[in-house]
């Protein structure tokens, strides 16, 4: 069959890959910053909700070991409806990848390379991801094995550096946000980034040991929460009520590190974190899309689609939304609703129907 789908990954690798994916673009943006200072509470709640969603995905994957979602959809919903469902799912994956690219691009244009033409930037960004996808899942995973520990190291280091500027008073008062607000923000967090793990329905089939992935997923979630909460706490502790003013608060907080005039300008580490984790996330999304579409179309080789996918995702990433304002508005208000069908309804419905139809039957070809 297809070369890209030959890879096999172990559980530890899954943990690191998933963590890298979740950290993706969330390591820079502060989801729910406007309910400061209870942002981190909303985040934890959102993580919990995301975990529930993850259970649904795992249950589905467990039922159909070794099969990607495209195949599962076909098996559960029948040939025609199944194709429609798969197509919708693939569109979601593709769009998510384009959104990641847009976030990427925005950040680079703002703080690193303002004048370089966006087309070139985006082609390079997605190009690197495409190179990783071309080399296969194992390569993406191995990259994340190198990059994620690096990110963890940097995050902890930066948190240490910010201790002198940290004021606990900035984190008070606690629990003052009215509950509806808190819940709304937590739902936002649940869909981005935790709900996006639905994409892993395309990755789980490649695990070495099927059906043992629950603990890996939980560990990955925990790790992500740990890193993001660290980042969040240090940001909120330093910036306080000013945090929601900035577009990239975590980045801005690290700009104030200045120890003895020598250890300064460390925000580059935050940029590196963002770029590397974004790379992993976009690569995973691109991979899921390419493999999914290949299976959908019944292609012999997965690699055929990599180049077109690269070009298309770059284009969409570039022209998705007119500007940063729209992107932020989209992420905050529209995305939670837009993602619901893909992250919740489709997998849940598939699971229910599969259970009702008592699939997979004995002797059915996986």
């Amino acid at each position: 069959m297809a070369e890209l789908a030959q890879g096999r990954i172990s559980n530890i690798q899954l943990v690191l890959l998933l963590t890298g994916f979740l950290l993706g673009t969330s390591i820079l943006i502060l989801p729910g910053g406007d309910i400061h200072p209870d942002t981190w509470l909303a985040f934890l709640l959102g993580c919990g909700q995301g975990l529930i969603l993850a259970f649904i995905y795992l249950a589905l994957a467990r039922r159909f070991p070794g099969q990607t979602f495209v195949k599962i959809a076909e098996a559960v919903w029948g040939r025609y409806i199944g194709k429609i469902v798969s197509l919708a799912f693939l569109w979601y994956v593709f769009h998510a990848g384009a959104l990641t690219t847009t976030n990427f691009l925005d950040f680079i244009k703002v703080s690193i390379l303002p004048s370089t033409p966006a087309m070139l930037l985006v082609l390079m960004l997605v190009g690197v991801c495409a190179a990783a996808v071309w080399s296969g899942l194992e390569v993406i995973t191995r990259c994340s094995e190198v990059l994620v520990p690096l990110t963890i190291l940097f995050t902890l280091f930066l948190a240490l550096m910010l201790i002198p500027d940290f004021k606990a008073a900035n984190l008070q008062p606690v629990l003052q946000t009215p509950l509806p607000e808190l819940l709304k923000t937590s739902v936002r967090v649940a869909t981005f980034p935790f709900g996006e793990t639905v994409i892993f329905l395309m990755i789980l089939p490649f695990l070495n040991k099927q059906n043992k992935s629950l603990s890996s997923v939980v560990i990955a979630f925990a790790l992500t929460v740990f890193i993001l909460i660290t980042g969040m706490l240090r940001t909120l502790g330093v910036l306080g009520n000013v945090a929601p003013l900035y577009v990239y608060p975590l980045y801005q907080a690290t700009r104030s590190i200045d120890l003895g005039h020598i250890l300064t300008r460390l925000e580059i580490l935050t940029s590196i974190n963002f770029l590397t984790m974004g790379f992993i996330k976009a690569s995973v999304q691109l991979f899921a899309f390419v493999v999914g579409l290949s299976q959908f179309l019944g292609l012999k080789s997965d690699r055929t689609l990599v180049v077109p996918a690269w070009l298309l995702m770059s284009l969409l990433g570039l022209y998705n939304l007119p500007g940063v304002a729209e992107t932020i508005a989209f992420t905050h208000t529209v995305y939670p609703f837009y993602a619901l069908p893909f992250e919740v309804f489709i997998p849940l419905a598939t699971l229910v129907v599969a259970w009702l139809r008592k699939l997979p039957r004995e002797g059915q070809q996986p």
Binding site: I12, L113, G136, E138, R142, V146, I268, F279
Partner: protein
């Protein structure tokens, strides 16, 4: 895209390869008529003055004619005189051979020729091959077989420490150019009966002898088979050095990173074999190849295991740092001074700005230019005669560095960065091929896109490294894929007694080194000692 290029190259290469019939056809047998054999031999070997044909008569009844054919310079004259001519000519007088039981050749082999290695053959091609390889051929009138006597006596280099792999605390012997000497050096270190050698020959005209070495029971059988397969596939005129072997069997010929390891030290080969690898000895080359090779091997030196853990760990990290600096210093310098000046502390920025003021070239051009100059210096330094070398290199570096800075052509920081890069690049024992290309690539990328370019370049390198395999072992193991039990030798150098398992990536057949315990000082009962 690479696949496309690959197809074109392969197609072109295949068309060049038409087998030309060898001049010697094997299967020719030795005739009983001595003169005919000699004539045949003379025709094949040519009339070179170093081909010696020594006629004599066997002692004893019968006066059988015999001839020795050998090449002067390759054989040990003493053996010829003492162990072949003497017994056959003189002592046979004393102990005449009873004719009748067995052929005379057999008798000679069993009773009279007093050398260690001896063989019978009836094949002409064999004979010629052996003569050319340094053996002595003994032909007898009336016999269909000839004896091939091995008595190597060519000049070799003394065993000396290799220049390129110098250690502080370890042994000083290095391989020489003779295959048997090298394998002997290895045998000295591994007394295990499982140490096996498989002989091979490659190269149509050079008929270079290879020995595949491995430890049976530790190395994976499939690995040995694969090595053998790849070596047997080599069809070329001549193989002159181990480096050529490397290029014919490597997994990724288009990658800047080597996937076949090499060394000139027997202790390194021994260590690698003990981990489950396979070594390839090449006759005529002091370099021995080892496969599979992991990226991490570039940073390992035998000294690491001779010193205690704290020091070794520190030195290891120093090497990682130096390697990173040697690849990243020029690109970082370019990126920081042309794109991201906000990342430099203000006093540093002022110093650099002052130095750059007035220089005519953009920083990228300076850095690449000086990098090229340095590579030229390095290459020239290899070939400078020793007498002149020191003076020229010092003066050259000083003059080029000092003068260009004073003239305002190049900024002083550039020279400093390049000099530092140069020194850092020699810290890593085995990695120089890839470093040059990486450095250049990253510098260009950084000149075009700043730090973002560097990150993209590094990601691409990472992706490439992550996809490399060397004879089945993932190149970046044990970091990726993660093998915790083996990480002990990568980040830190754990004490020897804690490294209980062989590297998983190489998939040795038996992955446990024999059980190890930490050292324990003996318990002394002080009370009793007081008496």
């Amino acid at each position: 895209m690479l696949g496309f290029i690959r197809k074109i190259l392969r197609f072109w290469a295949q068309n060049q390869d038409d087998e030309q019939p060898l001049s010697t056809s094997s299967g020719d047998e030795i005739r009983p008529e001595l003169e005919m054999n000699l004539a045949y031999l003379r025709e094949q070997l040519g009339r070179s003055p170093d081909v010696i044909i020594r006629r004599f008569t066997l002692g004893g009844p019968g006066k059988i004619g015999a001839t020795l054919v050998f090449i002067d310079g390759l054989t040990d004259k003493t053996i010829i005189n003492q162990d072949i001519l003497r017994p056959l000519m003189i002592e046979k007088e004393k102990n005449p051979v009873k004719s009748g039981d067995g052929s005379i050749i057999e008798k000679l082999e069993e009773c009279l020729v007093t050398t260690g290695e001896i063989q019978r053959t009836s094949d002409c091609a064999d004979l010629i091959g052996s003569i050319l390889a340094g053996s002595i051929a003994l032909l007898l009138e009336g016999q269909r077989e000839a004896l091939i006597i091995s008595a190597p006596g060519w000049e070799t280099r003394a065993i000396d420490e290799p220049d390129t792999e110098v250690v502080v605390k370890g042994p000083r012997d290095g391989f020489a150019e003779t295959l048997r000497t090298n394998t002997a050096l290895l045998r000295r270190r591994i007394s295990h009966p499982g140490l096996t050698f498989i002989p091979l020959q490659v190269g149509r005209h050079t008929k270079t002898k290879l020995n595949i070495a491995y430890i049976k029971g530790i190395a994976k059988d499939e690995l040995v088979e694969e090595v053998k397969r790849r070596l047997q596939r080599i069809r070329t005129d001549g193989v002159l050095a181990a480096g050529m072997i490397e290029q014919y069997i490597e997994d990724a010929p288009y990658s800047p990173f080597p996937t076949v390891g090499w060394t000139e030290r027997p202790d390194v080969v021994a260590a690698r074999l003990l981990e489950g690898r396979v070594a390839i000895f090449t006759d005529g080359s002091p370099v021995v190849n080892t496969v599979p090779m992991l990226f991490i091997e570039n940073f390992q030196s035998p000294d690491d295991y001779n010193f205690r853990p704290y020091f070794s760990t520190t030195v290891r990290w120093l090497r990682y740092l130096a390697f990173t600096m040697s690849i990243l210093s020029p690109p970082l310098f370019v990126a920081l001074t042309t794109y991201h000046q906000e990342l430099l502390p203000t006093p540093l920025l002022i110093s650099v700005a002052a130095a750059v003021e007035g220089t005519p070239f953009p920083t990228v051009v300076e850095v690449i230019g000086m990098g090229v100059v340095f590579e030229i210096l390095r290459e020239a330094g290899i070939r400078l005669p020793r007498a002149v070398g020191q003076a020229v290199s010092i003066v050259g570096a000083l003059v080029i560095g000092e003068a260009t800075v004073s003239a305002g052509l190049i900024g002083a920081p550039t020279v400093i960065v390049i000099a530092f890069t140069a020194i850092a690049s020699f810290v890593v024992p085995y990695q120089n091929e890839a470093a040059i290309m990486l450095r250049l690539l990253l510098t260009i990328l950084s000149g075009m896109f700043g730090a973002f370019g560097i990150i993209c370049g590094l990601l691409l390198v990472l992706i490439h490294l992550a996809s490399l395999r060397s004879f089945g072992a993932p190149y970046l193991a044990p970091v990726a894929p993660l093998f915790f039990s083996v990480l002990k030798d990568v980040l830190l150098r754990f004490p020897l007694w804690a490294m209980a398992r062989r590297p998983k990536a190489i998939e040795p057949a038996d992955d446990r080194r024999r059980p190890v315990q930490p050292p324990e000082p003996p318990k002394v009962d002080w009370k009793r000692k007081k008496k």
